[in-house]
Symmetry: C2
Subunit: 460 residues, 2 copies
Amino acid sequence: MTTTHPSPLTTDLLRALKPHQVLTRLSERLNYRYDAIQFGVTPLAVVLPESTADVVVAVKAAKAAGVPIIGRGAASGLSGGVTPLQESLVVSFTRMTGLRIFPERREAVAQPGVVTLRVSEAAKPHGLTYPPDPASFRTSTIGGNLGENAGGPMCFKYGVTGDYVKALEFVDTDGDIHRLTRDCYDLAGLLIGSEGTLGLMTEATLRLIAPPKFTRTLMCHFAEVGQAAEAVSSAIAAGAVPSKLEFMDTACTNAIEDYLHLGLPREAGAVLLVDTDGDDPAMVDAELELVAQACEAAGGTVKRAATPAEADALWQARRSISPALGRIRPQRMNEDIVVPRSALPDVVREIRALGDASPFHLVQFGHIGDGNLHPNIMFDPRTEDEAAVHDLAHQIALVAIRHGGVLSGEHGIGTMKRDFMRDAVDPVTLSALWDVKRALDPAERLNPGKILPEMLMVDR
Amino acid sequence: MTTTHPSPLTTDLLRALKPHQVLTRLSERLNYRYDAIQFGVTPLAVVLPESTADVVVAVKAAKAAGVPIIGRGAASGLSGGVTPLQESLVVSFTRMTGLRIFPERREAVAQPGVVTLRVSEAAKPHGLTYPPDPASFRTSTIGGNLGENAGGPMCFKYGVTGDYVKALEFVDTDGDIHRLTRDCYDLAGLLIGSEGTLGLMTEATLRLIAPPKFTRTLMCHFAEVGQAAEAVSSAIAAGAVPSKLEFMDTACTNAIEDYLHLGLPREAGAVLLVDTDGDDPAMVDAELELVAQACEAAGGTVKRAATPAEADALWQARRSISPALGRIRPQRMNEDIVVPRSALPDVVREIRALGDASPFHLVQFGHIGDGNLHPNIMFDPRTEDEAAVHDLAHQIALVAIRHGGVLSGEHGIGTMKRDFMRDAVDPVTLSALWDVKRALDPAERLNPGKILPEMLMVDR
């Protein structure tokens, strides 16, 4: 095993923390250079804090050594949010797994290393649940969800991570601890979604809700994407608020069918998967019927799940997208644009045309209820040109912006979409975002190189 | 009429705006020195913008003249948020009343001068509504609601103003226009609730919802406040999420009874008013019964409204609090603390004791569902000592902080609770809030003297 020479940084850390909390061997550090999609620079050292006090130690040691610091959860992120861009100290929160449930207050108090699903599991015996459900919720952590303000299929009806945060503790760039509620200047709201560039979040008080008692499911396929978007718009206009509303394009459906042979309609231009939920089964049925009628009026073919097992079978298609795509190429770039629902048909068509004109395999799926689309570009980094992949991702981002959309619904900007921020945000607003960043991290030591592109100073 | 001599400021303004948009006469300017509760300094001039471009003109003129600038809606605020503390330019948004409803997107796009209730009125023909309902919603404006992140009785179930903002336009301290969505750094969320100290909000895209089809109402009186708090906690623990959950103490009930002779129980220690709502009348009834059972189990006497007219009669008590209190003394200081529900019995008792030990008439009411309490101190500024009123308000704030509460639920900090911020916020967090303030308003020209108390510089 290769070991590094003790540096002032690791000496400081080893003096204040237990030996197993500081990883210095190359073989260990190598594991902390990537997220689910991007590789970065191998960190100088990795700290495994067990308390907020340990985080303070790490931040102060990094400050003394003049080294950048990067917080990291399960690293299941899809935008390069936790990949180091230079030699850094990585703080891996996976051992800060403290979780308390307060049923009478309908709150959970969670440390950042708590796995997302664990919150709902711990709340369940009390008749409560935690709705935000990113696809990775079996591995992702609350800290990572806070950093990216993660969403999921439920977010159209139930909201994203930040909507459930009642209080937040964070450690700032100097190692000072802050405990925030959501009043006056909403500093907590600013930290949420900031990808560790403004502070390290060390504890969150999360709102829990009573889960709906009943769920109904349908699948619908359409000849053409525009019909699916039309069906969704008219169902929502008629008063339906589905708890999940997922879309897959032809390429996506075929990738799943190649993988699992579920009998999905390969020729369909679009497949919708819809859940309605609530406490009154008649109301939940009625809401599903609203959606079914809108789907049929738009020319779709509806298949209702008669039992929970049938519903589970329908959802298997959606859950299998990632492994199905993994069989096509070893790597993928996962876009996360959000566009007005009314623009979806044009946006899906334009992105399809970009994919067809490129040498890459491209599929589209996403949370169509709030216009959150995930065009995925599959590629093999050994044989295909990553610069061309990035260029195609940029073209897709420009389609979204041209239609009044934004770059990210739930994955964050990270490094992947950092350059696209110049297209999405006016220079004067980018300058204001930099002003806020520098106010809270003047030395730019917190996760440098993420979210905000460098800018020519705007003369104010 | 006294007129001021033309200053460089008014000359600049009159050059770029129409004459009726610039108020310079003393008699006109005097009207812009107060909100619903506090008096301030008479402004140097008042601008009545009709567009974002007019706001830019005003901000740039104030910057050139080195004069502070204060945005103002209906001035129905209760914390001194819009009262000038020095000679300033006031921007009154009452003519920026543009409002468009987009039913298919379930959105309203509102300029800041739109009266709150007007949004729901305009949305109603499309089967939609805008839930935030501050008590002043017949006069308050969206701009003011954004500035204070206003709530109301519905906010326990439906959330506060900021929860409905999808996009925001604001003019910064230099007169640059920013258009924000709620992604990456949530600068919009930071502006909301900042009381005009970080920028002037000029347009908001608001989320609309389908209103619930049915509402049921009950009133319950208890011998003792603790019973009411216990009833509320056990009803919520049993799964009820009432749409309104209002509390009045003995002093408050008696003030209303003196005023209107409604037959309210004068001897009751606490009166609760509860609405449940939803689309299924059986479910709404069942939810009300959950609350009724919890009330009776806690020793309360329940009165259900059998008709909408009876419900309206029950709610008349709550709606009459302000005029009823106005008869006791000409002026009042309206606190807005939020405490954990479990702490409510102790908090209400301790505040009652403070009131009884003071020379002032004190009543308590509030949104008990989320622990938002409004202790009101009535006084006559001609004969009673305002410093003693302020001191009592401070003692009340300290009770809230001691029980893990915060200073403001929906009224903001303004000038009234600015000094109390030293008790509520750690010096290091106050310093971080100042860093954010200075990042967006380095010359401290936007609504100076609000929210953040001056501080000794913390050595970081």
